[in-house]
Each structure stands twice: as structure tokens, then as C-alpha cells.
Symmetry: D3
Subunit: 336 residues, 6 copies
């Protein structure tokens, strides 16, 4: 069992039911999620020892977040508290040609208002093997950028490997600011995870439509990103958005051995939120288990394929579930 | 903002949940709908000023209909009341090879028993730009046929343009009667909307199966219908019923410039009821905004494609939603 | 109306809702089902007179089973009672690449503990035309094997025709034991129903993956099974498990006239449990109505195609529903 | 087991959930009920052989009614069919000081349009011990009045005992007409069941408020009703409507031995519809089992007390449940 | 029809279902409410012309608020928009000895950040008869205090009568600040509404427990408040909190004629939020209809009694519903 | 924080919703509970360190139990696994005069089949302060009796204090056997918890009805039980079962200082299962915190009063919630 630390925001997710629009909904389904928590939960489901670091309001909602972490075996002992708020987001599930819409209400949350002194990284990283964060965390505030940077410096110093998922969110910061800030982090990162679109934003490639996949352009960019930085490995997820109901899902990697491509899954989507996070968890797990890069790619792609079939953000699949998918070619025969 | 009047029946719709058969259902989802109200609601969502004309029972159900109209910004001031009943219909949602079933219980409703004196068309049409009705309204009773006819005469007299969706319902009248009655209305109609099947019934073409689309036959019929009548434009929706889960959906038009064909959408259906009505609303909106016929066709087809992804009869899409679909090619990428 | 007797276990089925995993579910949908009851209910829906024979606990759950049988017109007068338990099973509905999981909790049930003296087959079969059981019933206990065998002997003696669905369940017995026991039953059976996989287990052919269909191998095995036994007819269902959401579904038969193949349906699955049972019911119904083998095959395949679109195990389709599907080619046009 | 025939209307009942007003409800709970069917179902739950006579539309709703009767062991073989409609009613459940509201939509139903020739009472009453109807049935139409009258004449002729629950419904007919018509039936009736209010309407006593119970006035009226008619026994239910949440519930009887009074129950109401019908069923059951009048009164009052704690119109209590209440004094200790 | 303006905040209300604690809830019921909107909706249900003034975010949630106002006939034309957030609050419904808990997440909302220039009171009050606000509105920010004050000054200037409900919220400001600020408003207010507790806070009386009602102390305080200020009338609601399930509910008034007391209702609570607001609406309605003070008191108390029996904050009762309660003494007999 | 060990069975609880009878339910609410787990969860909610010892099946249901324990901070590290089953029980929630019914299906569960070697009590009790079990655990099998006895012997040896809740279950063993077995345990027990009825069974007093409370008889029995055994303290809960909706709830204690009585709560019940267990948890907590006996009694009674207002078996109240109730006298004023 490795010890893995993730750092970021957790929010209350309020989702409409049965493809209803928000305007039609007098019920919301409630769950609690956030990019880095999603990674931690998936790794805990894979059997790893995980710690999620954040700041929460000290009220019933904050308490409920803790019970969610407990339930999924994610350690909460480094979490801090104040009297601000828990961010929320609303998910209006699309169908067919109608897109899913996500509305964030995350400003002024406890984590967004956190201070550098809240987190003692030396203590947090004691005995840790891995640190993961996404581009959302530094985007929450300038202070968070600094906190994240301090974490990276300390992790590197203490020999803790670092993965980062670029996760660009246009509602949180501009492309220019994101690019400028995120580039500061790159020297500290061992494994970079991204989708093509975010990679283009951060590394200043030109944008093109993602709905069909231009494999050549993908390979060009991932090679460039790998060559111009000091990463051990780079992984890109490739989402082919046919419509809200069916997506193609695959990935590519680049390391010193060159480029690999995963199998592609055509997925009937139950819930696509957390898809990228479950891919990151698959990469971290397989890295810690010393899979070769190609096997990593297949493991993480299969894991995140399964995530798309599970409600809410968390990937509740076990390593066994992922291996069954890898062995079965996705026929999903009934298990009696 | 144009002023648009629609006239017809509104019913309580009782739908089974989650593909359950009526026999399995101890719950029905309740909504309120009717072909011409569906058109009015969609136009109101597009930002137009709409009036729905009907007759309702003066009881809690009638009051609830009014609150539904209010909610969707449809003006109810020309609605009349009595002590009869609100029609109902039951929807058993099919799946895959199992067809959706609709059971109507609409006889003896307040609107079916309405009298000519209930509606003062001169007053109703004051300042109006458009009048819309479907073939369901004259089918409700002989008196309704006359009321509808009076409305058309008055609209023409007052310079109000008229659209009609043929909407043949075999439970309400025979093909022969429908054909005979509806032909009386044709000289008053500026824009005719239909599906191929209804056009055949009303204009006495031979019937053939709709499950795959014979484009040649469609073009022949629409041209004939246009040539032998005085319409400004004719629009046909083309539904390719692959099964209850997926339908092909497109449309063709015919005007003096000839025939146009829309893009075809393959739709994973959430709810197909009201699909034709949302097409009619798209046509009326784009007509009032002076789109060219081809753009009208694409706008209305995209609008009604979105309707199929929304629960209940109403198209809750905005003009912006429709334009996003037209620009995105249906990839439905998530909106954060 | 023919009189048909089926014999086996009925259980409480607890299913998660809306693709949730068991771990995520604080609600289970409850229904009552079992292979041979499913057959009886489908035949009752086809208008036949059916009797279901089992043993139940005398408590609220046993009483509820009786009210379910009443509701679906299945006669319960030969059912016996004790103070043991009703078996349960849990269904976690999969989606896309995630398989459906079924967990059985059926040990020590009233029927599994039944004794030979509980059932007076002479009385039960008086006036009966048909007896059906599946390979699950003899697998419940050694005593049940004997009871089943006694039933077959008595049925044959009284001129009651017998059908058997192999229905191998690896949780109940080993392949070797199943093969040994089931072969004892073969001489009594008029119509054998199976899927390829179960046929291989029982008749000792080598196993290969079922996810894509190797038609040649199927034809070889069904011919072998027919030739080496004394059945009137053999029917195999062929499931192409593309994923949890879409399955191909067809069937083949073998009798003295040789092999026939049915149309194949691509099914968007609502609920696949009871699919095989509804096929068996279609075969029995069409046999009793003297359909030719090819028509039987098509009828039973269409019937069981519809079952996949209906929640819970029972096929609630009528003969008319099945005939509509056969005539419509599955386009599932709306029925108003 | 006695054979009991009841005659009347069955409707689809649509109820709001969780005290919501109709205006707030996008869900209705569906069940099927009607005064005389409620009586039949309760008697079937008591173990009696019951037949319900009515006329239904031949559609999915009519079929579903039949499956409901099957489920509760009520024989449907004398039911007739046409192509009219099934009546519906809407129940808005009140709470505390807010009254429950019931909206009927029952006009033009199949039973309301039934004809005298639909029912062969000689055949229906063959071997019957008891006939029950309520004042609702003759109120449905003049033809129904005659049919009901023919049933009473034939029942008397064939020695079948008759009970009638006055059940005055002001929406169906005026007090004057109800009084005039119902009095024609009185000579045929062995057991009369009513509440004070209905008795006053039918037998022309002055009306006063029912919210608190004036026992003296009750006793005076029941004695008068008994003395001036030829009934064997008269039973009145006494409802003390404290508010929508709590009702007092008791009853009094009058026969040749004089007046008896039952225990009074203070009931926290789950669903009060069908309360009077369950009382009638208790009276009929206990009459057929030859209880003394006082025991009848207690049995029927306890039975109908339990009904108030059960959702929907049917009393699903068994004789054992009723006896447990009679013995326990209503403490409702948990049964493990 | 009078024209009434109310001014304040509207929030998304998220309530747990069926007495579940927030920690146990994976579903929240969604509605939209706020003290002054609740007053406006109730007055609209009474048939008055109402305007609700606030500031909303321009997103799906803001749009949904508008559709809620439309639905309940509350005019939204003076509402302003920005890109901040809609406040939310969470309601954990208590039961018996367990209290209901409300968690507010209302900071940084669009209305809390509104500026003086957003509202042109001269235009808003044109033709208005009444202006209502509660102590929550000035508590939202210092700017809101000023805006509210400007509104009062302008209203007085234009002859618009003013009512204020003290509505002290300890989460928003201290007792001292509330007292200081609210006293500035008093000279402008015609009708003051409060509960005893808030009156004590604002007018600096000593606090005592509210669970049982000390009528003498109430009368003393209301008289003092009336005598020491220039109000036309003062109304206090009196809540006897027996437990979460049952509350006593009554009110007292003081004007030049002295003190009056209303009837007391013992209420089985469905939802107590909005209870005070519905009382305020009853007072305003009856004032505009020139009821005498005692009749006002009874009307408003009955109206707000009914509110407690209705889910969510809005009082959906009509004037007729209130009058029925006043005439029936709360027996809540079923309405068929 | 004290370390507390509890030992017993956990089952899947399947409850009907909204007062529905099992026969009416197509949905069950799922939770996981058992007397000793309920105690552990309540103590964990009070902030104590708790360990629950049992044996579970190694399947999805067993895994889900573990995630439930995690969620509520109950340590599962001493739990053993096999391939048997998880017991289930069905709860049909009563109302008013209709009793709640519980049907157990717990035979042949993993824990009932556990062996002495499964549990190393020396290891389990290392550092423990308290051991709790109820009379259900030894009743599960003769082997469980021995295991329980070994646990008591070892606890005593290691200085771990022991509490026992008699919890007699007539479905598991006879009164005679229960009395004989349980008496063997008494010398090891420091704190005995019971209700009057169970005490009578185990200590051979005569039985009388529990619906009204005869305080004298209670005092007599508790004194006798205390005097004739070596307990430090004895606590009895007193339930006055007025009906299924309202219960009186109080308790008495006996120790060397004599008898104390708690305040009595009249509770509107949400869910009474687990009521006794939450009382036991309150006693253990207050004992470990060195409350005086009278304060213990009040704390545990208030804690268990709150439990009755919470769905499912667990008392989710915090120490602060209990103290608020003790201070507020149960008025349950809203917490904003």
C-alpha cells in the first residue's frame, strides 16, 4: 500500500434526475466531489492509502464531507476548518444532441479563502509516495497558487513524486494567466495528465474542435509537450464527443520509449463527470505498481471507461473490475 | 416580439416512469400539454409574445393549467371556462423494439364542448401577427370545425398569417372526414406543416410504411401538395423510426424556389411527444424573423431535435440552445 | 386454452435503480421472480391456463408471492408451505462496459428444503398438456433432483409433454455434477431449450467466448445435441453481448427438418433478466398452437426481444404485442 | 366461504404525494378503487368469495383494473366491456387544518353508460349469499337506478340478503332526487349502513355540523330510521373530524334489541378514503359469520380503524389483524 | 386589485425529504423562497397585483427564479441582474423532539452585493398601494440598509403605505446592530409585524423562553411597542413550540382600540417555514380590504395556519381557503 | 476517547416507505443495522473509539457493510469473513392503531455459523475500556453462546467493563432457554440494560401488558433484579405504547443509592427501531464520562428519544444534540 496525498476543493454536487433540465427539477440528487478528491477515492478503491487535503466549513455540510471521506477510506486528518462555505455545483444532465451543463457556485468557499499557514506540507508528506493536484487548485486564488507551489517544492525536496492534471477551467482564470501560472509548476511534475484541449491552452498551441479526433495532431502535441519539459511521462485522454449519450474514449502516452495508444471504448454514458480524474487515478496506481507505460495506458483507460458507467463523480471500480474489463473486451456479460 | 395566437386543447398528461408499462405503474408523472399549447410554449421560450386560446373546466386542474401557462409566459386571457372536464392522456414509454403507447381520454372535455360564441376572434386577433392551429382542433367536434373556420376567416380578414400542422388523429375522425374537412381550410393557410403520412391521408395519396424513408416519394408528394394549393411554403418532418430508442429526424420544404432538405439527426430519445409541435414553433419563429427557407428548415429541425431530448411535451430550448446545436454539429460537448 | 404446469423456485428480487451500484443504493426495487414462474406468467399473459408449483414460507413474503401469482393469473393451488425462508437475489444493473451483477441468497429456502411427499404429481398433472422446468430446479438439492425426476416420469406416463431449459448455474453445482444429473432427464424431454454455453456444459463440448457469435459452431452443436438425443426439437438462444446496453438477440432450432435461424434483434436493454424464460414461454405457446418450427423460432425470439424492454423478470407482452413486432420489423412506431 | 356480490363503479385514483397540493405535484400515485369494489376487496381479504360487477372500457386501463381484481382475489367474470372511459378521481391529501380535496372526473364512464341488458342478475346471483351496493351506483344515471333496482328485486326473489351504504354524493345528484330514489330501495334492504349526515339527507332530517358528535341526536335518528323501515339492522359510522390529521372514529347500531355503541378510536390518519367501505365490509363479514350486533359493531369499527392507517382505498387487513386490534386496545406494539 | 411591492432576497431552498437528516440525504427537494417573495406570492394567490424587487444572477438558476415568479403571478419587471450568485439554504426537517435546522449559504449573493443605483424607487412605486420588507433585507449589507431606507423615504413621499416584519436573523447581524438600524426605519412604518422574540431584540426587552407563551408579557410588550412608536397597528405572532410536530399558533394586535387576541390553532406541521410571511400577507391583504383589526388578526392567523400544512415556503391558499377555515373551526372535513 | 468493543450481528434492513404494507411495496429502503452495531455507531457519533466484531460474507453486501462502518467511524478490523450470507429483515412501518411488523430472515448467516476460533478476544480487548453485547448474540447459536461467554470471561480477566442489554427475541429461542443461558452471563456484567418485559422473561417474573406503565411493578422488579445480582447498576427503559404514532418513553435505574426515574417524553415516532440500542449507548457513554446515575438516566433517555425521530436504526445524534434536548425541554425550536 502506497501513501498518496491529493490537494484541492470538494463541493456539493446537485444533479438533476432522469435528464430533467434544472428548470424542470424539484429534486436534486446530492453527492460530494472535486477533481482531486475523485482521484483519492478511486485510489482508495484500488486499495491504496490516501489523504485528501482541503479546507472545509465547520457545519453540517462540512461534517457530511468528512463522513463521505470516511466511507470511502480517504484520510481526512490534514483537513482544516473555518466558517466560510462549501462550494456547490449544479449538473443538468444532457442527452443525445443536448449538452450537459454544469453551473459552478464555488466562489468564497473555505478552500478558496485558505491561507498558506493552514497546511504544514512537511508533516503532510511524511512517508508519502505520491502527491497529486490538478490545475483547478492553483486557479482558486493567488494564495492557493502559492500554497500549491509550496507543496510542490516540499514534495520534491522530500522525494515525493508529483502528478498534475492540467484541468483548465475557463470560469476560474484566463487562458493567459493559466498558462503563465501552470508553467511555473511544470519543472516539479513527474507525470503530466491532460486532454488535448487543456494542453493547447497551457502550452500555447492553437485550438481546434475536439468532437472528432485528429490523431496526428494529438501525437504532435504530446511529443512536443514531452520534449520541451522534464516530465517522466505525459498522458492525454482523447474524448470523441459524438453526442451526450455516446462518447469515444481512449488515450495516448509519451515517454522516452515514444508514443503509445490505448484501445478506444465507445461508451453509453451514465455520468461523465470525474472521467478524467479516474484516468489520473489509474495512471498513479499503475505507476506505483510499476506497470509499463503501455499497460498503464490501458489500465487507466479501462478504469475511466468504467467511471462513465457509474453515477456521480467517484470511480467505485475495484482493480478487479478494471482487470475484468481489460480481459473481456468490454462485452459486459452478466456476472451471476 | 411578435404576437402569436394558437388555438386548441390542453390535456393532463400522465406518463409512466422509467419505461414501466401502465400495468406496472403505481406512479404517473403529471404534466400539461396539447399540440397548439406546445407550439405556444416553444415560441414563448424563443422570446415571442404568445396567446393560447382554449376552454377549461373551472376546477383545480383548470387552475393548474393556468399556472403552467403563466410559468411559461403564455398569455391566458382569452381562455374560457365551464364545468366540464379536462381531457387526459396516458403515455406508456416504449424502449427499443417496444412501441410507446398513448391512450387518450379526451371526450366531453370543456374545449370539445365549446361553442362558437365562446371566442371573439376579432378581439383575440387584435394586433396579432400569426395564428396557428393543428388538425386536432377541428377534429374535436363539428362545432370546433366551425369555430376554427371562423378563426381562419377572421385572421385572413385581419391580415394575420396562418400556419396549420395537419396532425391527423385516427381516434378522432376517419380519414375521409379528415380529408374533406381539412381541405376546406387549405385556402386560408400560409404555411402548411405535416409529416408524410398525414399529408397522404389529407391529400389522398397512398399510404406506405414510414419506418425507412423513401426520399423520392417524399419529394414527389411535397411538390404536389405545394403545386396544387396556395401555400407560401410547405414543410414536412421525416421521422425514421429505427426503434423506440433511436429515431432519425430530418425535414424537407417546398416553396417557389423548390425543395430543400435539412441535415438529419440520429436521436437517442428522451421523449418524442411534442416533437412535431416544436418543429412548427421553429418554422413560425424563423418565418417571423424572416429566415430564408433553408435556414428555417435547419432551425426548426434542430429545435425539434432538442425537444426529443427533453421530458414532457414542451420544448424548453432557447434560441441560443438551438443555435448552439446548429453550430456544433450535435457533439453536445459539456458546458461548464 | 391449454393447461401448463411449471415447477421451480420463486425469489424476492431486489434491484438497484437507475444504474446505481449496490454500494450506492439506499433503495431497492422489489419484485418476485424465478425461471419457471417467469415462464408461467408469460404463458398466462398469452392467455393460457398455468399452474406454478413450488414451496413457500408461510409469512408476509410468501403471501405476497401468492398475490403476485393471482395478479398474473397463475394458479397457486398446488403450492406448499413451511416456516423456512424465501430466497432473495440482488441485481446491480450494469451499463455500457460495466456488467450487470446478480448476487443470489437462495440457500435454505422453503423450496430448496422441500420433500418428495410435498408434491402429488398425479393430481397436479390431471388434465395437463405441458410440463416445464429448468436446470435450476434439480440443482437446488438432491431431493429436488429426485422430485423433478418423479415429475418427469409421471408426466411421461400421463402423456404430458415436457420442455426443459438447461439454465446451468455455476453457483448451485459443478459442471460435472450438472452434466451427470441433467443427462438423466434428457430421455423424458420433448423440447430442449438452451443457450450455447449451457449446452456445452451439459453435453460436454468445449467452451469458447460468447461475446461474438460463431454461427458455424452453434449449428454444429445444436445438430449434435439433436442427433444424439431423442428430443422432438431443440432451440438455442444466441446472445451477442456487445455491452450491457446493447445486445444482439436471435435463436436457432434443430428438428428432423434440419436447422432454422431467426431474425436477429439489436436490443437497447431495459432489463435482460428473464430473457431466456420468455423465449421458453414463446416456444411452449407456439408448440401448443401447432406453429411450424420456423414460426415458433420467430415468435419466441420476438417475444423474448420484447421482454428485454420490460422492467423485472416477467414478460408482460400479449400475443398481439408479439405479432405486432413480427409484422413491424421492430420500428416501434408510436401507438396512439 | 360465503359468496358475495357487489355492484358499482371502479375508477383510477390519482393521489398527490406527501401532502402536496395538486398544483405542486408533478407526480400522482395511481391506484384503482370504488366504494363497492373496496367492500369486495376487504371481504376477499377476510377470506370470502367475492364478485365485483361493473362495466369497463376495453383498453389498457380496463385491463389493469382486471389485474387488480385478480391480485386481490375478486372475481371479475360478470364484468362487461365497451369503448367508453374509466372514471378518474384526484385526491389532494390535506393535513392538520387543511382539508383533503377530492375531484371527480367520472362522467361518461363505461359504467355510467351501462344498459340494463348488460347484467343478467339471475346468473350473477346463482349461489350468492349477499348483495351489496351503495347510493353511488343508482346515482350514476337513471338507467343505473333501474339496473340497481332490478338487482335488488332479483336478489330478494332469490333469497340473497342485501346491504346498502347510503353514500350520498352531492356532485352526482340533488338531495331531493337522492332521497326520492333511495327510498324506493329501502324495502329490499336487510342491513342499512350510513353516516349521520347521509341518513339526514336521505330520510329528511335537518342537517347540523358533523365536526363534533352529538350522540343524542345520533341515537334519535338511528332509532327513527330503524323504526320507520323494515331493516334487520341499521349501522351508523360516527366520524369526529378534529382536523385532517386526527379523527375520532366510532359507530352505533340499532336493531330490535335496541341501540349499541362501539369503542371510539382516535386515529392518526394515513388515508381516510375507503373508511366507510371497510366498515361495510366488516358488517357483512360479521353478519355472515353470525356475530351478535354488538360484536359486529366492534369488529367493523376496528376493521375500518385499520383502514385509515393504510394507503389507498382498500382495507388490506386480515381477520387476524382486526382481532389483534380488538384484543390489544390499539396499543400497536411492534410485531417481531 | 391593489398594487403591492415587496423587496428582498430569494434563495434556492434545498430540503431533505421525509425527516431525513442532511447526512442521510442523497436527495434534496428544490424550491425558491425568501421572506418578502413569500409575502408577494401569498398576496398574488389572494388575487392582488404584486411586484417583487431583487437582484439575481443571470444564469439558469436566476432564470428559474423568474419562471417561479411567473407561475405565481408575481411581476418581475423591476428585478436587476449581475453575474454573482443566488443564495441557497438547506432545511433539515425535524420531528417530535428533534428541531428543524436551517443552514444558510447566502453571502456574496447578487442581492447582497446590489448597489443603490440598481433600484429606481420612484418608478417602482408609481401607482403602488403598499410596500413591504422584512428586517432581513437591511441586514444583508450596509448598502442594502441604505437602499431599504431610500425605498421607505420614497414610499412615504409617494403616499405608499409600509409594512415591516422585524424578522431578526442572528447569523446576519448582532442584536445591537439590528436594534440600532431597525429603529431608524420605525418612523416610516405603518404596520409593524413581529414575533415576541424579535420585538424584544429590536426594542431592547429582556429575552425569555418562547416554548410556552406568557400572555401577560406579550400584552405588555406589544402595548409598549405601540405606545412608544408611531405605527398604525402592531401585530405579533405567538408560536408555542410544543415540539417539531405540533405547534400552537395564534397572534395578538395592538392599535388605538387596544389589544385583540386571535383564536389559537394547534397545528400538525407539514412545513413551518414561511409561516410568519404568510401572516404578514394576511395582514396586508386584510388591511387593503379594510377589515377591522380583529378580523385582520383572525384572517392572517388562519391564513398562516394553513401555510404550516403546505410544503415549501409559499402559502398557496386562496382567500376562499382561508375563509373556509375561519367558518369551519378547523375540522377540515373532506371536500368532495 | 475510550475504546469500546461491541459484538453481534449486522443485517440488511429492508423497510417499506411511507407507511406502505409489504404487499403494497415495490420499493424497499435499504440500510444496515443490528443491535450491537447500533450501539457502536451511536458511541462513535458521541466521539468514542468503537470496534464492532462480527462475521460477514465476502460479497458485495459484506463489502457494503464495511463501507457503512467506515462512514460512521466504527473500526472493522476484527471482523471475519466466509461465504455464507448476510441476514436480512423486513420492516413494515405501522401507523396509529396498526402495529409495525418486523420479519427476520437471519438464519444461516455468516455470524450465526461463526466458530469460536474466529475471534481472538485477548487481541480484541487489548486497551479496551468497555465491552457490550445484547441477548441476541448468544441466541444466534449454541456456538455463539460459548463465544460470547469466552468474551465475557476474557473481558473480566483483562479489566474490561461489560454491559449487556437483555434484548429477548422469541423467534430465536424459548423463554426457558433464554433465561437459563442469560443467567450464566449475569455474574460478568457490570451494567444491565433491559425493558421490563425482557427482565420478566429472563428473571422469571410474571408477564403483564406493557401498553400502560405500572410504575410500582417496575420499581419492584428493578430493585429485585439489582438486589439478587452483582450488577453495578441496572437500567430499564419504559415504553408506553399508545399507538404506532405516539409512544411515551422514559426509564428508571437502580444502584446502591436506590431508584431514579427519568423525565418522560411523548414521542411522535419517525422510526422506533434501534431505540433501546441508543439508550444503551447513552448509558455507556455517560458511564465512561463518570456521570452520576441520575444524569446518566436523563442523558440516555434524551439520546434515545432523539433516535425515535431519525430514520433507520442508527442514532445519528451528537452529544451536543442530546444536551440541547436536555436543556430545551423538548420544545424543538428551529435552529437557524
Amino acid at each position: 500500500m502506497s501513501k498518496i496525498v491529493t490537494f484541492g476543493e470538494v463541493m456539493l454536487r446537485l444533479s438533476t434526475d432522469n435528464y430533467r433540465k434544472i428548470q424542470q427539477s424539484d429534486i436534486f440528487r446530492a453527492s460530494y466531489a472535486g477533481s482531486e478528491l475523485n482521484v483519492a477515492v478511486s485510489l482508495a478503491n484500488f486499495g491504496e492509502q490516501t489523504y485528501f487535503v482541503t479546507k472545509l466549513p465547520k457545519n453540517i455540510l462540512g461534517d457530511t464531507v468528512i463522513s463521505v471521506l470516511n466511507r470511502f477510506n480517504v484520510n481526512s486528518k490534514f483537513i482544516k476548518y473555518d466558517n466560510n462555505r462549501l462550494g456547490t455545483y449544479y449538473v443538468e444532465r444532457g442527452a443525445s444532441q443536448r449538452p450537459t451543463k454544469v453551473i459552478y457556485d464555488r466562489k468564497f468557499s473555505s478552500i478558496a479563502l485558505a491561507k498558506s499557514l493552514d497546511f504544514n506540507w512537511e508533516q503532510i508528506f511524511k512517508g508519502a509516495d505520491w502527491f497529486h493536484f490538478s490545475g483547478i487548485t492553483p486557479a482558486l486564488s493567488d494564495e492557493l497558487t502559492e500554497i500549491c507551489f509550496q507543496a510542490c517544492v516540499k514534495a520534491k525536496e522530500m522525494g515525493v513524486k508529483i502528478s498534475c492534471d492540467l484541468n483548465y477551467r475557463s470560469k476560474l482564470w484566463s487562458k493567459d494567466k493559466a498558462s503563465e501560472v501552470m508553467k511555473r509548476f511544470m519543472p516539479y511534475i513527474n507525470i503530466l495528465i491532460a486532454n488535448e484541449e487543456d494542453a493547447k491552452v497551457i502550452f500555447n498551441y492553437e485550438y481546434s474542435d475536439q468532437s472528432s479526433i485528429d490523431m496526428k495532431s494529438y501525437e504532435y502535441i504530446i511529443r512536443e509537450v514531452f520534449n520541451r519539459n522534464s516530465f517522466d511521462k505525459v498522458f492525454f485522454t482523447l474524448r470523441e464527443s459524438l453526442n451526450s449519450t455516446i462518447n469515444g474514449w481512449s488515450s495516448i502516452s509519451c515517454d522516452k520509449q515514444g508514443i503509445s495508444r490505448s484501445k478506444k471504448y465507445d461508451i453509453y454514458i451514465v455520468d461523465r463527470l470525474g472521467g478524467g480524474d479516474s484516468f489520473a487515478a489509474g495512471i498513479i496506481y499503475s505507476e506505483l505498481k510499476s506497470y509499463c507505460t503501455k499497460d498503464q495506458l490501458e489500465f487507466a483507460t479501462a478504469a475511466s471507461c468504467l467511471k462513465h458507467t457509474i453515477n456521480d463523480d467517484f470511480n467505485l471500480s475495484s482493480v478487479e473490475d478494471v482487470k475484468n474489463l481489460l480481459e473481456s473486451d468490454g462485452n459486459a456479460r452478466i456476472k451471476r
